[in-house]
Symmetry: C3
Subunit: 348 residues, 3 copies
């Protein structure tokens, strides 16, 4: 990207309200990350602090932002800064790979697979096994493996080296990033005569519409029935979800969480990074769990914030931590009490 | 699945001892997960509580279960409920993918590989490199990569997108789920002149008979010699095992555990989810470590249960947690003591 | 390997200063792991304890080690034991797979890819998409997927089933182990009208020279600009690095760490296993963070050691742990004080 503030102002039909129009612009970035030859944008009051600290050469703003920006920052006023910024990205940014319909040479698609070859895109190195169904507008990246009888809806993107095992079902607009494994066997054994005997895992994983799943996440198939990921839920990288778990709709599950078998999450649940959820427990709607917590019993009241291991209401855990901080002082106070009591005792 | 209680009773040659034989049955599930149009089974006293709470339309039982089942649940009496349930699953459930012997078109098997083409199944998109050996009855899923000189025993299943690096050795009946990496280099460097210089990792990973390994697990090759996974051990998803670690026989290692380099686990060790084991320590036979614990020194006594970080005998950690819970009260008691002592002092 | 101490002494032109030259030697290993038919080496004073405890049949030493070795261990004196040991490994060990230049049958390399076919090695089952650039001496293992416009430098090794998404840039001598995913989308959503709306992730991942990355690690592309891994940094298995994170040069990041989005690590930072770093914070140069810690605020002073959750200077966390250990005693002392005060009160 090589342009000037003037050219950008023209592109977005904005008004340069401050700064030198001939300044060279070499890239775009967020307010926080932009350097002094980049353009950024101020889309909402939420970013006031970032605007005040930005090092961007020029910022797209609506009227409200002007007084907050550093004096050295040029400003272009536009009606909708986010939309204007998107136009700049579309003009100067790298284009995402094009959707090229067809079954590429070097992919392996069984003859029994149901798909419309003019509407799906299966890239080289992808494999689709017997009786799978691929919806229109769906992209299968190289190295992805779609197992027998898997059903994938419309407009999905299956990332490179993703594995979806036999019988699993995906809705529409599902995105699965690289290396993720859907439908591996649940971890179940019977201890029998000194050995662990495998318990067959005969169910599937069902993923509803508009779910996005990060890289190297693993979701196991159910013992019977289905492990379920509800509509609109977003799952980050390296998350582990055990067999028969049920995740509600519109949840956020941040990286490296682990959800044990048969756990049930409600809707709009948020798990920060590295949270562990024990098996067979339930989490109510709209509950938030803080990072690195371990939830070992059901949370039945909707909407609270929990933290710690074992996870307690946030305030309770913070109170306990505060008390632990006071332990040094407490030890000294007890020592002092003992001494004073000794003295007092001596006086009598 | 579309059938009736009558048809099921006939299939398993059982006696309908309670309920309406014309009730429609649409699926099968565990006692816990079954809904009111599904069949389940009661195989052991361990599941008494699940039986009492089940919502299944009908349950297969032996004589003992009858009094515990909810009144609304139909009951079919059979000699062995687990065996009868298996028959129902075999009749109505999805068939697992068939083992089709041969080297599929679209797989890449080097001409030096040793195998009996009539007895192995290598699916499209799998790659087997020079001088590898594949035993009879073994299935290699799409996207799996079998490195040079790898030896795989009989009746193994290597999942989709699994990577097994050069020289590693697997016994018989080993199952490895999708995306797992066996034999990546151990993490070893010498700090030298301001840089980390790589230490060659020249050993292998050896996996004994009847081991099962979950999805996206990583087991590093040894510096010299071998990283060893003992017979019958079962490892869950996203477990990390460092170079030269030795895992005993018949261990259970639950998801997201991390076992550092050169650690040694005995036989029948159980690690709950997310346990970390420090490098170069030993864990005695039949030890159990609770979830999220971190073991930083050897556990030499067999058979105990450990918990916490650093991991201590379970009772000790729970006692410490109990004391922390009492901290609020303790602070108040000390405050009270100070006040009373002040008063007492004043009286004199 | 089948040889004798005599043959080994001859191979390394060393002097057998102790032990029976006819002893059979069947392998090589570290001092710690060697058994009584293996050879090992003593390269530095750091390994004194390992030398004293070794069970090796014979050890290569320089003059200094002699008095420390167990009496039953044969000793071969050489000028440089590490170099001599390397010669033994080169002679008797398995050869690493040979670098065979060319584009193998069964790989999928787009016609627009820039590479010198006589100098790169692309193995069967690998896929390289449009407009990628592959440097000389670089090896692409089976199942690896190189996305559109990816640039890979010279002498790199891209492991099996690795995924590198569009536009990412790797320097020279970068090693990436199996199953790792570079350049998946960052985890970013706007909550809007009851749903999580995806925020486009338009940046890349840039990996500088001499970086090594373990198996099943995930590094997300930036929202804008780049997620950066600095020169010489070594990253272990199952590490998660969020969008826009910046990792300095020559850092060590041990297995299962998680670094949240926009975090910035300085140079020579060491994170032990399972450390979590919160988003948008900075860690100064040469800081070390102990295993399983969670760093939730910036560490601005270079060179210290931190531990705990929240991470504090190591001493502070250990002091707190010590105080918690004393809690049982403290409870008793308070109980005792209460009793004595009661008595004292009664006397008056």
């Amino acid at each position: 990207m090589k342009t000037t503030i003037r050219e950008i102002a023209d592109l977005v039909q904005g008004e340069l309200i401050r700064g030198d129009e001939s300044t060279a612009i070499t890239g775009f970035s967020s307010l926080e990350d932009a350097n002094s030859s980049q353009i950024s944008f101020y889309a909402s009051d939420k970013f006031q602090e970032s605007l005040q600290k930005t090092k961007a050469a020029v910022v797209l703003i609506s009227s409200s932002g002007e007084p907050l920006a550093p004096g050295s920052t040029a400003l272009i006023s536009v009606a909708d800064p986010a939309v204007a910024f998107d136009a700049i990205v579309a003009r100067y940014g790298d284009k995402p790979p094009e959707f090229v319909p067809g079954i590429a040479t070097g992919s392996h698609v069984d003859s029994t697979v149901q798909l419309d070859v003019s509407k799906v895109s299966i890239l080289p190195g992808a494999t689709v096994l017997k009786n799978a169904v691929i919806g229109n507008g769906t992209l299968i990246q190289p190295g992805a493996v779609i197992g027998e009888r898997v059903v994938i809806g419309n407009d999905c993107e299956i990332g490179p080296n993703v594995s979806i095992r036999e019988g699993c079902v995906l809705g529409d607009r599902v995105i699965i990033h690289g290396g993720t494994v859907i439908g591996g066997d649940g971890f179940g054994y019977e201890f029998d005569n000194g050995k662990h005997r495998k318990v067959d895992q005969l169910g599937i994983v069902k993923i509803e519409d508009d779910v996005e799943i990060g890289s190297s996440t693993t979701i196991d198939r159910a013992r019977f029935g289905e492990t379920l990921i509800g509509e609109g839920t977003k799952i980050d990288n390296q998350v582990q979800i055990g067999h028969n778990a049920v995740i509600g709709k519109h949840c956020i599950i941040v990286a490296q969480c682990g959800i044990s078998g048969s756990a049930k999450l409600g809707n709009y649940v948020t798990l920060a990074a590295r949270v562990g959820i024990a098996g067979h427990i339930e989490i109510a709607d709209r509950v938030t769990v803080g990072g690195k917590s371990g939830v070992i019993s059901s949370i039945t009241e909707p909407g609270g914030t929990y933290f710690g291991y074992p996870a307690k209401p946030m305030k309770e855990t913070l109170r306990t931590e505060m008390r632990i901080k006071k332990l040094g002082g407490l030890l000294n106070r007890v020592k002092d009490l003992e001494k004073r009591l000794e003295e007092l005792d001596g006086k009598q």
